[in-house]
Amino acid sequence: MRLAAPLHRLLELVDRPMAALQRRIGPQRFAWIFLLPNLVIFAVFTYLPIVLNFVYATTGGLAVLPSERPFVGLENFASLLDCRDYLDPSSCSKDLFWRSLFNTGRFVVLQVGFMILFSLITALVLNREIRGRGFFRGVFFYPVLLSPVVVALIWKWILQREGVLNAWLVAFGGEPVQWLLDAGWSFFWVVFVSIWAHMGFYMLILLAGLQAIPKDVYEAAEMDAASPWRMLTRITLPLLMPTMLVVVVLALIKGVQTFDEIYVLTGGGPGSATMLVVQYIYETGFAAQPRLYGLAAAASLLLAALLMILTLLQLRANRKSYRG
């Protein structure tokens, strides 16, 4: 608390001018004063860049400054959407965009699905009265704190050809596998590592949801000699649904935006087997020559639109299931 003392004094110092301000504009409108700093920072560092992104998306050329870029209308969008057959990326003019989009779809379904499954199992196990619960909760949460680059380097080191995983395979009489050189394995590890790094967070949220379920509900069910399976499907899971919704929406948004850890782990390879759409945007607009900012901005807007639709669908489906 002693640490907070100077801060306290500072906030108290602001008190008098704030009170004067409140007398002038009235207590209700004072809410905007509270919102103001946040809105200003948002406006300058989030909304303005998004507006600039629209400018980039509708202009062409290689210039960085928006004022130096010629207006091209919807050309960038047209070029992204130029496909003979939308199910075959090779037929598209921007085949890598479509490949990365398909990869992202596959990745999100697998990653979100299995991550929630494992988070749920772990949360259920940790919800038992078990010794060392706090410790194990920490263990599962720990990777969440690591930076994506560190996560990727750790696993890269383990999965490399002469890594420890292959050493074990050989020790048990197997053949070493080129984990990150085979499209299938590479995709598997990308999903695995991403679950490894993030499941702790969702596990904690689900655990909180489980602990919020009143105990007497279970006691009543035990009186009725309900089987464990029935208790899980009839009591625990339905009561967990609101928490689950938040978890799914968050996991989905974060899943679609996955970038750093995969970029460092596989670089999107082999070929473009693990290239996700944010990596495509990053490489097109920033990392690799030519820097096609317009194309990258257009792709990012398409991605945002897609995410918005997904989220809205999610929320609507959920509202329906509540009513039904």
């Binding site: 990150l180 596989t266 999107g268 070929g271 020559q289 096609l292």
Partner: protein
Amino acid sequence: MRTWWIGAAALVSSAQLALAATELRYMCYQDGNECDVAEALLEDFHKANPDIKVTVDTVPYKAILESLPVQLAAGQGPDLARVTDLGGLAKYYLDITPYVNAAYWEENFGATLPWFRSGPGDKGIYGMMTQLTITGAFVNKTLFDQAKRPLPGPEATWDQWAEAARAVAKATGTPFPMAIDRSGHRVGGPAISMGAQIFAADGTPRLVDDGFKAFMTKFVGWMKDGTMARDVWVSQGGAAYQDAAQEFINARVVYYYSGSWQTGRFEKAIGDAFDWEVVGSPCGPAACSGMPGGAALVGFKRTAHPEAVAKVMDFFAAEPVHAQLVERTKNVPAHKGIAAKGLAYPDATPAGRKALQAWAAQVAKVSPVAYAYQGYPLNRVMFNATVTRVTQAIVGELAFDEAMAKLEADIAEAVAQAKK
């Protein structure tokens, strides 16, 4: 409370320092000791020019490649930098002609000065290759000895080398006969040797021609039959760079096509574990060429002190300083006078010295097409697209012809965008 005062005092004293001297910032990246050596050499410069203070900022290579162009476009950035994308940044360079002895620069750096220029009409002096590199091959001589095979001669073709490397790998149980860095620049030399012209007669890029396809067909075939280390190209996506130096150091590859910048590292890392030699670039019907390249010291137009920037560059261009820079960073000299005299590389091992001298001898074999390719402002675009598309052909995401068609389309689009 006390830390506040210390912080404020530091702020004041650094402000005073800035007032006392012209401060220049040199944004530098290093693979080995390039920035450290430059910083050490700059001490002499500071003694001779007490009014100029050059601060070397050693940054990740990523910053040079990705942040610097955006910073310059926004009118920001350092005064000097060590860069590799010579053409891409050309419009930001400072012309130092008014401040230096232009005849000396033309005389000694004439071959590389056009790399910095924006077009044929441009006669400015913008930068200096502080690290001239030549691509070419290293071989593990000990493995050849153990397989009791002689090294193919200097006129040997790519096919002959591939055949020899396969035989040696088989005889010695080495996993990879050959490896080439994952880089469009690296496969440029072999393609040119096979007859690739890179440009159409009017000077516009036309990367995919018969010569280019001839080498790429071979290359993709070697990837499939195990002659080439597939890992190097396949373990990365996009246009990311990947080398195979670790494999060579570990004696897991017989023939490694990379370039002169690896010499210092090999000298240190291999020690006396095995014998290695520089054998340059194999031949094709058109040439026996590698690609020139490297990193350069440039100054930027936006600097407030153009004269001081020119002074720094002239300092590094002067023969004794430049010779030291090249010797201590173990590179091939770009300076004609120094190249003619030859360098002794006093702190190199016998193997390292021999290798560096072998590289210097390779310079003469570089095809004019390779010089033109290295000097083309949009060459990075072509390198990157090559890597992305050829990798797709190797892993089978695209058929070979499809990949070549997409490669052409990528370059055409970039050229069109650059014209806007």
